[in-house]
């Protein structure tokens, strides 16, 4: 159990390029924090710096209040699970798990006890005498986790541990790791590029991009209130739809307008917000589930989004429609139905969940809470054919 604190951590490669810049993060005791971002965003570098495998150029790293910048990995009381398992190929499963304890000169009986216990927890007791090459991917992953468990570290570090597993096993291991974390209650930092893993596993999510932390918050907070267009687009699957247009003053008040595209009169509650913004470019964000959902269909006055179906992805419980309209391509998450490619559709919008972003800075404009507050009562404000 440990508290981890990163203050202004940076990694400079010396030629002016930063892998991580000014990272601030406090991880509480027993918390499960997920670092997520696209490839090359610096999440693995940040994890390696916490592990002591990469030098920290600037800032301070504290574990339980103790400055650890220059402490070797072995003295940081951490254990790490690697993407490709990193099991020692020439050692049996038991020896792999016992290796770190042997180095620490733990008594043989104690080593045996801990290895047996970890093997029992992970259900790999029958594999202890095998070599890693005789194991399946899932079993190897369990052994890698077992090797971390026997150490009884204060912090667990996971570096994309599930990315080499097939989809079904990944879901299973995801649940098992989360379950294990609940049982052991150890602080854990988990790196992934998969936003689904991040959403389902993390107590808190840290979204990174180009070495910078974009947002640190609980999963639903990030989903509902992304701080910028990048976070909004990265978290959520399928990704949020963005429509670039203008805020324009019309006879009926303020509206979101795309030349030859969408024209959406803004609800009353947003008039003040629009007034403050003034006329000019703005980006509208719509989650796929907002378009064509059952709830939206129930509202006869819901504005409609017109488009032509390009691709259909039936997933069983729901269907993803990838549609083209004159000015933009968008995705809708709808219920099963009689959809066909090339079909012209007019899907109703759940207009209670809109996101607006500054067209220049991509920063989220804080209107959502106000919109939510007015929710249903304001839906009538959208004209029937405002979306064309």
């Amino acid at each position: 159990m440990a508290h981890l604190s990163l203050q202004g951590i940076s990694k400079d490669f010396g030629n002016g390029s930063f892998a991580v810049k000014n990272a601030q993060l406090d991880v509480e005791d027993g918390e499960f924090v997920v670092l997520v971002g696209p490839s090359g965003c610096g999440k693995s570098t940040l994890l390696n710096m916490i592990a002591g495998l990469e030098e920290i150029t600037e800032g301070s790293l504290k574990i339980n209040g103790k400055l650890c910048n220059d402490l070797p990995s072995k003295d940081r009381d951490i254990a790490m699970v690697f993407q490709n398992y990193a099991l020692y190929p020439h050692m049996s499963v038991a020896k792999n798990m016992a290796f770190s304890l042997k180095l620490r000169k733990v008594e043989k009986s104690e080593i045996n006890r801990r290895v047996q216990e970890a093997a029992r927890v992970l259900d790999i007791s029958h594999l202890l005498d095998r070599l890693p090459k005789e194991l399946s991917g899932g079993q190897r992953q369990r052994v890698a986790i077992g090797r971390a468990i026997v150490r009884q570290p204060s912090i667990f570090l996971f570096d994309e541990p599930l990315s080499n597993l097939d989809a079904k096993l990944r879901v299973q291991m995801r649940v098992e790791i989360r379950d294990l974390h609940h049982r052991l209650g150890v602080t854990a930092i988990y790196v992934t590029h998969d936003q689904t893993e991040a959403m389902t596993m993390g107590d808190r999510i840290v979204v990174m991009r180009d070495g910078l932390i974009q947002q640190t918050a609980k999963p639903l907070e990030i989903y509902n209130h992304p701080v910028n267009r990048f976070v909004a687009g990265f978290i959520g699957s399928p990704a949020m739809n963005f429509f670039e247009g203008q805020l324009a003053r019309t006879d009926l008040g303020w509206a979101f307008h795309q030349p030859k595209g969408i024209h959406l009169s803004l609800p009353k509650i947003l008039q003040a917000f629009a007034e403050a913004q003034g006329e000019g470019p703005i980006t509208l964000g719509l989650r796929p589930e907002v378009i064509g959902s059952a709830q939206a269909y129930r509202d006869p006055n819901a504005p409609k989004l017109h488009g032509k179906i390009r691709v259909i992805e039936p997933l069983g419980a729901e269907t993803y429609l990838y549609c083209d309209s004159e000015t933009s391509n968008w995705t809708a998450r709808v219920e099963q139905g009689d959809w066909s490619i090339g079909q012209n559709v007019a899907l109703p919008l759940l207009s209670t969940r809109l996101h607006f972003f500054d067209a220049k800075t991509d920063v989220s404009l804080p209107i959502e809470q106000q919109t939510n507050a007015m929710a249903t009562s304001q839906m009538g404000i959208f004209n029937e054919d405002t979306f064309a």
């Binding site: 490709n84 990193a86 190929p89 770190s100 180095l103 090797r147």
Partner: protein
């Protein structure tokens, strides 16, 4: 319908008697052989193998022929009266066993040195970052372009200045860390995933322990290649011993074999017995490490 069809087609098939009727057992074998298309490949490979094996066979046969038989048949591929006389003459009349011992010492020390030092250097080049690493490696590699003969005189002068003439040192020390083996090691070790080393570091290994307990055990095929190549190179070395060794007691096997021509001129059987004995260690090494050698040459550079 089906029955009728069968009845109709039966006489037609009878017009073509099946080949089993004629007793030709090899035909059955030929039919069952699955790799017919490869027949030319087998013929060429088999022919080449025979061609290569012929000198060894001739050496083997001649080694057991008496001098009298040898005189009668100029080139014989059969032993009519096998005898151990040539072997006896060789062992009694020359310092062959002493030379074998000398060769063994030199080859063993060179091999141990190469096995110890080359993977160590290869590990540093493959997995550690230090200023000028790639430049240094390039310089080392470029020395491989220099022909050995060019280095002969400077090496001799250097050995003379060190006072190493007539000792084994110039035969062992300069070859202790062969550039070729360093290169081979670097290629092999660079294929070992970085994560293994990092995992060991997190587990609490020191740098040396990482090398000896994690890297080295994974390098068995590499060590086998280095061992075999280094041993054979040293065991068969002729120019070096000829230049540096003056005292006959210190001579190595290739030198003794070369002297057989003078001492046993016309007695090819003794010369061949000397050659035959000299390949025994190489054969032994090959049989012992056969599996490792094949896998190391096949995947040289690939991790297990």
């Amino acid at each position: 319908m089906t029955v009728e069809k069968n009845i109709q087609t039966q006489p037609v098939s009878l017009q073509w008697p099946r080949s089993e009727a004629i007793p030709r057992p090899w035909l059955g074998l030929w039919r069952r052989w699955k790799h017919k298309k490869l027949i030319w490949v087998y013929l060429v490979l088999g022919g080449s193998a025979l061609f290569l094996a012929l000198p060894f066979y001739y050496m083997l046969v001649t080694s057991f022929q008496s001098t009298a038989d040898l005189a009668r048949n100029e080139i014989s591929l059969w032993v009519t009266h096998p005898t151990l006389d040539p072997l006896r003459k060789l062992l009694d009349g020359t310092r062959y066993l002493g030379a074998a011992w000398n060769s063994l010492i030199i080859a063993a020390l060179s091999t141990i040195g190469n096995i110890f030092l080359c993977p160590l250097a290869g590990y540093a080049f493959a997995k550690h970052k230090f200023p000028g690493r790639d430049q240094l490696f390039f310089v080392l590699l470029s020395t491989m372009m220099v022909p050995g003969a060019v280095l002969l005189v400077p090496s001799f002068l250097l050995a003379r200045d060190f006072g190493w003439i007539n000792s084994y040192l110039p035969l062992i020390v300069p070859g202790l860390a062969s550039i070729f083996f360093v290169f081979l090691s670097r290629q092999f070790i660079s294929k070992i995933p970085k994560d293994l080393i990092q995992a060991a570091r997190v587990d609490g290994c020191s740098e040396l322990r990482i090398y000896f307990q994690i890297i080295l055990p994974l390098c068995r095929p590499l060590l086998a290649s280095i061992g075999i190549l280094s041993f054979l190179g040293s065991w068969n070395g002729f120019i070096g011993p000829m230049i540096y060794l003056l005292d006959e007691n210190k001579y190595t096997i290739p030198l003794v074999i070369s002297m057989l021509q003078g001492r046993f001129g016309g007695q090819e059987n003794v010369q061949m017995a000397g050659s035959l004995l000299s390949i025994v260690p190489a054969l032994l090494l090959f049989f012992i490490f056969q599996k490792q050698i094949v896998s190391s040459f096949a995947n040289s550079g690939l991790k297990e």
